[in-house]
Assembly symmetry: D3
Homo-oligomer: 279 residues x 6
């Protein structure tokens, strides 16, 4: 996590919501200090420690935040996750944006954890680039909190040769050779395969990662025989929670799941004001 | 929709994904021109015309985009939504980010349309501030595409007096009077009520909108009797798709649904390259 | 007021003036600590507490700022408004930008207060969107400091149907119905009227606010008879300080004044260095 | 003028006003094309050609803008300054922000021209750093349009030794020598003087510019005798329009006027829609 | 190369130089159109096609740019690299910033090409993270133009375990296992080694890349025997042009050179105005 | 130096390198506190105090930085320049970017000092606008640290009439008169001359600074006779370290050197971790 980038993003998110001012919270005349709890209203995995830790400080440096959970912790319904103490106006101003983030990140961590547990340690669960625009760093962080792994972060850090790329070369071998000729030693090359022949060709051309795209578990089991141990394997393409077990049994090393981030269900987390703090 | 703001956001989203360059698409030596289709792989409502219209132009002004659907159109599985023609490198570079947005916005429009149809015209469906940080303008636009209505856009455009705000005043009347004394004539005041007494008090204090928070349909039916016609009513708080019919039958005017935006399921849309264009 | 946004604006304003460095203040070799006063050289209303409070901290966190007035306070010529203590270099660097803002905001508050006093409590004074580009939040804040009210903050938070909008519809009724059909319950609809018939039509179509544009006090008095109590009324269009009394006597509820912000006269405020602080 | 910077500023200003969308203009269903005129409702000097030229293009590249005046032109009440043709929605969206700028800049140009004419060619009129934060480039441009001259643009391009700076040195000579020792040959050094002795000292120390701060015309006449021709002279400090003639008669070369920019009166300019364009 | 990001950077660079306006070029009254050539005054490799291609368009879209060379082309002293035609004012405004970039990038490409030729195809030359802050994308692009390869782009795309990282683990094996446990399959792990034992340990722990840091060619030759073919090897640490041959002879696969970017010598390129274009 | 601008630049530079997170440093589980030294591995002049002072604070406010040198100090090989104490993760994250800046700035200061010493006090050494895009403020600061002087900071603060500008006027006199007519009293006018006649013309037209462009020392000696004392003189154009002595002997007042910033050799500075701090 890059805290400097996170701070910059939190500032933009808070400004998006507060705009020219909080018409409701700015009605208070006094500077009453209150105490409030962040409470989970649903069980799942928590993610978003830094969001909470940095977020309120940006709004008002005098707010004190005590967080009782760590990223990746299992939280039960009704648990107090954190306590916030400070100016009522400031606490109410930041509530919605910070909860929106906590709920989304914890939702991603929770569904990732579910996927991980369904894989029973046989295979690793990873994400895709199907993240919410603007939130890639945070959403991929949440996947890690849930026990998942990150696939590439963007177009800039790994080569992925999909069918539309391969169509531009004479063969998989041509494509991989071109990549090796142009790119340095820190970049891995992944090839998306749809047929047995493509797997064989990708192996012989020296791919670092072979992805089985839209294949059945049976097809994958079959084709894994062509893949030597040094090459990483990945199953991808419309795999749902119910499919994980059968894919995991094939022995494929990674299963990438777009829905972890593109179809997130928020984990219900709310802020309860406990009342004014007596001086 | 503010196109200037949208362009700025699209630039940031594209830079988030492309980073220092697209390692894969930049492998192509030639400048092959291809033709590609945007195809729906699932039925639902389309949203995101401007995203597609402006997005590819930002990456490469020479790309031609023909879009065959309008925002809010019902699209069937397999339909060709748009055709893109231009440099293969540029089309592949923008694919993921633009699809991520189209899928998210169309997903929101689609679930909104489902909620709207369940309300059978008895009540209006509206959104909340539980949107994805950074995407409020776009997600609220998608709700409109689905036939829903927008609740306030931020803390800056409507007063919402929740329990945590009311706790800072001697009474609902005190809170509303304070707001009227401080705020101009373009701002509406909404009061969140949890009890019958609060409804009565909010009506007598002159609230513009009364929200029934976490109330059963029965409670709402009961309490609507105290609300004169000039005051708008809204049901809120954990209402799911299955609950819409019973809430709609109460006669409440708006039902606000957080899940429209906080727990979005992406609509499956993809880009199919049709091949190189012959010169 | 959104402090996060204010900080961002102050940073940009300070960078605009300091640029690549303060050639004069950077001549000092030593780090002499000085004490300085912010003094009003003219009577009026003060506005800009947060500007002063946050501004010097951005330049140099070690500067101590003691502010003796609150926003909206009447300040007499010669009054010490604040005392600043810290590095001479830092205090001189920020002087001009912060005074530019204080003078402008206090000027707006002062002229607003004059308008408010001329209205003798009969009507409320409000601003317009004729603010300085880039300073809308601050200038509208200053209007409130002077006892005025804010009209809409931008095109995004209230519908205003002017003649140029109405020309696009078959009638005022058509325009309002279209707006009601498309927009949610938190948005008010204001209609600009120039004739008696338009007033009657706007009332019957259910406008929330009726603006009398470029009407004489007599015309307004006449036309107010058609407007029921639940509809807010506003006089607008080239009204000057001298006209306020006669408009206020009509019983119209709001008078909006473009000159509050578009033709501001700065209130004279300056910084006096009192000398080096002895260690 | 830096057009790249101007574009960036215009984008920010338009986004400030349009926010998440123009609720009123976005009500139109059709894409009616209209024609509109920019008309002066007051006589004065025009400034803002580039604002108009670039501004509408940022909102909608298909808008055609024909501008009939040049910056610095005298415009009479009722003159058509420009014609705009394009989508009604787009034209209405940009109207207020662009007019706000045109009015402010033309107001500055007009008052500058008045000051210039009062100086009757005996002395040059210049501005100060008392500009609106965020608008320095534009406001100083407007001063030039009115026939005035620009004083320094910021703390970064000229040394100005005011009393608070001089207090940090043993003498004016010490201050100037320090500056000459530290700064290169492209930077001029101006010294603010309040007494005859300071003038004499500044001359002998080799100042490039001598400012007479808060001096009467008589004092200036007296002290100019000590200033050789190669040193530029400037009168400053609370000089109003009525004082210009007597200051100009002293033979001082520049008179700097803070009110040109800090207390601007907008020139009244408006946009008149002429109606739909027939296809 | 990410053109969107490049445009954003070019805008900032141009604004840094032009500031509030080009005092010299803005002196011209007319809009004379001129023709100018970009000429190399030194032999070397060219890099910066997109800088030139996009740069002038940002300043003035009417400028026509014809570029006669491609990135990576060898250019001889006196060659005309490009011709620019358009407004004199605009061409002079952009000259310095664009040349600064072309000179720097071509300088990097040229020295890289020299290093590549010294390696005689025995080993690849690559860069480091010792790039100029703000210019990483462009400088790493220039290295590729010169025939070199890119090492990691930042801390975010490859694991590099240096001595300071290894000090935080019980052993190299512990460090690599920790990385494998936490990180996905697209990330390579490089280990910096200083001793023979570290090489042996890194090999057995499964490093993807082994870097020989500050080792002599003899040490590297010796230690390469422990490294199986599937692991990439890299020599690093203060290697100069004169050392390349002896390092290349060791059989190490990559030599990384900090000086390619941290101690760049600009290639001399200038703009010659050929005169006004006759209408 | 503008600290606010520097902070903004440092944030961008750090984000460029850290991106979505530091894959290596984020492997540490614990929050070990370490102590590290910044050490010079080469002799030269130090520049970059504020970079170090502000930089680590941006990454992690709990890091303590003790800097033992001032900008412009001569540092010997092996000297400890600063000590850093704090979280190992944070210290390693910022290392490369901060060293990249320190090395570049100290390299510039060092070569400037060399040039200054070669001039033996006979003439001043100054920089040009051939700085790295994005780093002008910092690089020009480094030139001052080395005892050099700054030429203009951008196109906005001094008029420089080069051959390409002069070509647009009927004569040097015409150009200077135009500039004097348009520009205020704080701006100096420099004229680039290539012939004796141009020098004579520039003197008689009242240039403030005369630059001898691409002239031999002999030519300059010859032509200096035409230049009265009040006009500053500058030699420019491809002057290298070896040429300084002969140019300095001519009596010219400034020698401007592009290579100070366009062909910088980094000064070798590194960070040595001393180990974990015992609690």
């Amino acid at each position: 996590m890059n805290q400097l980038l996170l701070k910059k993003q939190l500032q933009e998110f808070l400004i998006e919501d507060i705009g020219t001012g909080d018409l409701s919270a700015d009605l208070f005349n006094d500077e009453t200090e209150i105490s409030a709890s962040i409470v989970s209203k649903e069980s799942g995995l928590f993610a978003g420690y830094e969001v909470l830790n940095l977020g309120y400080g940006l709004i008002d440096p005098s707010i004190q935040t005590s967080i009782y959970v760590k990223d990746g912790d299992y939280i039960e319904q009704g648990m107090v996750l954190a306590e916030i103490r400070g100016s009522r106006t400031s606490i109410l101003k930041g509530e919605r944006v910070l909860l929106n983030l906590l709920q989304r990140l914890s939702g991603i961590a929770s569904v990732t954890a579910k996927a991980v547990s369904l894989a029973k340690g046989r295979t690793r669960i990873c994400d895709t680039r199907k993240t919410t625009p603007g939130l890639r760093m945070l959403e991929k962080y949440a996947v890690r909190c849930g026990g998942g792994y990150n696939h590439r972060f963007g177009l800039y850090d790994t080569v992925m040769l999909k069918d539309n790329h391969l169509a531009g070369f004479s063969s998989i071998q041509d494509a991989i050779e071109t990549a090796r000729k142009k790119l340095g030693h820190t970049v891995k090359i992944e090839v998306e395969t749809e047929t047995e022949n493509q797997v064989i060709e990708a192996v012989s051309a020296g791919a670092d990662i072979i992805m089985f795209d839209n294949c059945t578990p049976e097809e994958i089991s079959q084709r894994l025989r062509y893949v030597p141990e040094r090459i990483v394997t990945e199953a991808s393409g419309g795999i749902e929670l119910d499919d994980i077990d059968s894919y995991a049994r094939t022995g494929v090393q990674y299963i990438s799941l777009g829905f972890l981030t593109h179809s997130n269900k928020a984990l219900d987390i709310s802020l309860n004001v406990k009342g004014a703090v007596k001086a």
